[in-house]
Subunit: 768 residues, 2 copies
Amino acid sequence: MKFSALLTSAGINIGLCVLFLSLYSVLRKQPANVRVYFGRRIAEEHGRLRGSFILERFVPSTGWIVKALQCTEEELLHTAGLDAVVFNRVLVFSIRIFSLAALLCVFGILPLHYFGQDMLHQRIPSESLDVFTIANVEVRSRWLWVHCVVLYIISIVACILLYLEYKRIARLRFLHLTSATPNPSQFTVLVRGIPKTAKESCSDVVDNFFTKYHSSSYLFHQVVYKVGKVQKIMTGAKKAYKKFKHFTDETVDQGCRTITYRCCLCGASSNSFKLLNTECEQKRGKADNVPSLNLDGEECTSAFVFFKTRYAALVASEIPQTSNPMKWVANLAPEPEDVYWSNLWLPYKQLWIRRIFTLLGSIVFMFLFLIPVTFIQGLSQLEQLQQKLPFLKGILNKKYYITQLVTGYLPSVILQIFLYTVAPIMMLFSTLEGPTSHSERKRSACCKVLTFTVWNIFFVNVLSGTVISQLNVLSSPKDIPVKLARAVPGQATFFITYVLTSGWASLSSELMQLFGLIWNVIRKYVLRMREDTEFIPSFPYHTEVPKVLLFGLLGFTCSVLAPLILPFLLVYFFLGYVVYRNQLLNVYRTRYDTGGLYWPVAHNTVIFSLVLTQIICLGVFGLKESPVAAGFTIPLIILTLLFNQYCRNRLLPLFKTFPAQDLIDMDREDERSGRIDEIHHMLHSAYCQFPDTGDVPLEKIKIIGGDEEQGSSSGESTDKEPCENPKNDLSHPTLKGLPVNRLRHAVKSITFLIRLQKRGLSSEQKSG
Amino acid sequence: MKFSALLTSAGINIGLCVLFLSLYSVLRKQPANVRVYFGRRIAEEHGRLRGSFILERFVPSTGWIVKALQCTEEELLHTAGLDAVVFNRVLVFSIRIFSLAALLCVFGILPLHYFGQDMLHQRIPSESLDVFTIANVEVRSRWLWVHCVVLYIISIVACILLYLEYKRIARLRFLHLTSATPNPSQFTVLVRGIPKTAKESCSDVVDNFFTKYHSSSYLFHQVVYKVGKVQKIMTGAKKAYKKFKHFTDETVDQGCRTITYRCCLCGASSNSFKLLNTECEQKRGKADNVPSLNLDGEECTSAFVFFKTRYAALVASEIPQTSNPMKWVANLAPEPEDVYWSNLWLPYKQLWIRRIFTLLGSIVFMFLFLIPVTFIQGLSQLEQLQQKLPFLKGILNKKYYITQLVTGYLPSVILQIFLYTVAPIMMLFSTLEGPTSHSERKRSACCKVLTFTVWNIFFVNVLSGTVISQLNVLSSPKDIPVKLARAVPGQATFFITYVLTSGWASLSSELMQLFGLIWNVIRKYVLRMREDTEFIPSFPYHTEVPKVLLFGLLGFTCSVLAPLILPFLLVYFFLGYVVYRNQLLNVYRTRYDTGGLYWPVAHNTVIFSLVLTQIICLGVFGLKESPVAAGFTIPLIILTLLFNQYCRNRLLPLFKTFPAQDLIDMDREDERSGRIDEIHHMLHSAYCQFPDTGDVPLEKIKIIGGDEEQGSSSGESTDKEPCENPKNDLSHPTLKGLPVNRLRHAVKSITFLIRLQKRGLSSEQKSG
């Protein structure tokens, strides 16, 4: 590939970027797209841009960039959570280290490469890109020490920056844990592997165990029921209701547009609520004995156990409870919003085998993915393509620009398209693993996607191979440095184009929210559906974190060997910084948070990238027969690994558990201020197995039916959905069967919904 | 190697074994050797065989074998601890699985090998041993399914037996923990990484921290002081004292033999005690102001913290205390006898780097050890040896038996001698790692020796190579199965001779206690030293466990491929069972115990052996072009690994920590029975930093000087050495400087000892 081809590619991408950014700055001002571009704001701040036709709306502007940059880290933390801050810090770290690397490499190393060998230089545009890589430096060059020094500087500065970021994020995580409003998850333990007994009910077993062994700190518990069938009915009912709602809304819309439109904005049309309530009151006491849904014999496998203090919950979660490690397994519960309910009833015994099989599954997938990648590899090597498909020869030889396009642009576009399938598949694997929280699931998917990306984009391209040649590389680890050293500078061209296409273009499309935009248009004008006020996506960390880390890997590995990539990469990171901040502030809603657990992933990847870079440089110095430079690289590798080990010892434990000291301090502070009772009260309604999201107004039924329970669901100062009181106070015999009651409520609502739907349909038939 | 050579080797070894065993049965009856062969009994049961000259003493007998076999597991547990039982179970497991394997392989597979190819069979004695290995089975033989089935049976039975043993040992460990007499270590936490403050003393810092955060359960603490210099002086003084004591004893011996002989048996000659006491009383109050030993400013890095209940101690040890994982690191303390005091003051921050460097050190040692091994390899290949040392040619060709001896016997003897250096070096590495207990140190050394043994005896011999060829194998993991499949049957001969020499002969020498016997004779008749009543060795698990496990590995890997090894191996295990039981019951003293932690090591090694066997068989089936057998082997590998993972999940956690349920039950039981106060009282004297072993009667001084302390050291019902009260009751200002007091006592005793020694020497000069 020539320099001009690179410029073509860069030109196309810069054009596309400018186009997309301008388009975005216009589109975001259109009231019709407000849900696409300001999803979070509308949902959380309940603001609404009212549109009026003025010319300004159609003029591109840069205000959003300024806004994104002006936002402080505290604001980001407040609006988008700690994970967003971590992601932001990853970008900041990348900008910092690659600014330095670009400075050093472009001005220090690039001239060395360009004038590396005695050769007749052509005009720069028609110069091959290989001239700018280390391939152009002659063997036994006396300038290789410059590479070694630059490698040292980059590695040491990267380690220092990494350490500072690690400490900073550990501190932030700590503040996040301590200064947050009382978090119910800190008082709660998720117990799994509850042993079954014939005599006692599951609830009694849990109660007896914790009353016996944690009597001083045990508060109460809430059993999680395995409700496969009922859950299915519920989901079905919800879908039916949604459909029904859509139809009635539409029909009402046609009749009295203005009024209903306003009502719908509040969440649902008001007349259906009224119907529901009155109907429900009529039905009360009737559906109490549905025979098929008697869940008394239903197996329970897990329970939320609530403790009086944070420290007691931590202790219960850290100490193995019994001499069978598969029974009474306690872990700190995820936050209420974060619970992945449908995995909670998985038998704990299954989990380890699930984990193994999903691991195997994702490895197999990683290798099977090679088929399209090999094809792409063929595209970027034009000669091979022409050999295989001879009819292309004529076309490709004639049209110069087509050749440029094919070599410079097409491969990474195709790769990009295939890569879109990876994230959902990895997410599926992570779901099968059986995590108990959404955030854990996403983080696990993130790790899988990251491994996948690094393997299939970096290594497969570098080692340019089929499955067999990959396995050959795996089977001779000794030759890896030399092989990489031969391949990486040669593949630098591909990586530069990859940065341009996958990097820049994907940022633009992320900003544009192309899918969201198109879906918005289709829904509005083709399907004529109502706006879905509830569905606001959360940030796809599992795709974006690996992407940014992969570019970091490319940057490190190419930095010393092919520094031409660095300016493009730096532009990517700057752009990413602006775009992702904007998206986090405006588009995505933070429902759950890992509490900064993406940072160790990022840290490990950067360390891996550094060590890989050093190994490749070792190979290169070996190939260039510079024993001094190679000799000096080995201690650098050891030092980097030691640094990593230090971080693992010093900082990683902070991301795994909580320190006793601070939890005890928090508990005492709460007790001193008398807030502890309030917190205990709040715990009663913290976790709901049957989440009554706004689209199914089940909570209305429950509030009505709630007077047969303790009625603690009213008068909560939190902004949570009111929920049943899960307290199983055993001294009060009438309350023992509570979960069954709850299910009966669910059944009531289902039967009612079906009736409602029938009525809705008949009214539709009347109006239609 | 021919069958007759094997028979020669076997004959020599059987002869040696019978000789050694008979010798042992005679020698053990001689009163002079009673300390060598009944060290534990004399030390613990205070019994003594009184010798009289009768003929029976010189007739070999088999009574000891019967006694060793009759001993039940409970007796073994009682006398030699859980580790001895675990070791015993490893032998039982080996006997069981190899009995089955020998039955299946010798009668099922050996004939297949012998008649594997159409060939003219010679008389069996002059048959090459290769005829009995799988090398003699023709390619695409239709009998390979038998190998596959036998492999399946052995693997499955081995897994079942492993699981049963694992469960059994887990149960035993559990009983050991719960039913033992109240163990001070269960109430104690070893805290390291105590932060230094300028204002407060270390003791105050510890006290404040635990009073603040564990107020309900914290009892008191005991600071461990960094006493490098003083410790050295103490050790020096002890040595001086020992020397002195030896001389005085000898001199007294010459004067009035009978009386002093009786006195010495009680531990020390009585007049020296008297001198010491009176002298000490005279010196009291004088040595109180030694300026060079003021330890107030001395850094303290760790402390024993005592808790009211076992559960509280467990909680404190499991939960990270502060947000700095390098500070206030708490772990359950080792048992008092087990504490490795000289490592306790190591800064916690250093440990991770020490661990890394000792790991690197042991790996380097593992590879450097190859030089002698390569030489041995040369010996077993006679042709090479003759080429290199041509002068041997004449000798070796002429004398048939020398050839047999050289090929069949010498290589493993030399290897054996070199291997004697391994255990001390690995022990040194393990000490440098910084373990806090003797048992942990020994277990760590055991793992190192095991890795070393498996690599340097199995792999290096199989891959028959120099460092470079080994590294080549490491660098192409894909070819390993095929390489092993080619090499293992070929090396079976060497392994059989190895079993005969290293196995049988080392068992005999272990039984004979050759070193101990010789040392006993030298000490008694050449050096004319007194019997050392105190020094009774503890069982060398770090050399014996790897030995037994290595033979297991050899057995598994050779079982299907070269079944001729199995009968020899089975004899080894039977003999080992008898010998080790005898030694554990009579010779070795159990001072410390890991609580069964050798079992996970053994389990992992057996699993490794099984998987290795399966991989080798996979390679062999591949070489023999039997896709069916090879295809069926792959699921077996996966199943074995899954089984291992299941054990790791289900049983391994029991070996890492204690279950809360049982600890709480024990605590309650103690509280109910009122024994808890007694236990708390016992804790005061449980841990002594300056252990006053019997040979230096420092405790006498301390008891005398102890009236300025709380005097809680008297009246203890346990059989421990009386020790100072370490309670640093801060409300009592005069007790603050206790450790300094203790050191002053030490200094007193040292100065006194030196004076005493001088006097002893002068009296010797007078008598001489």
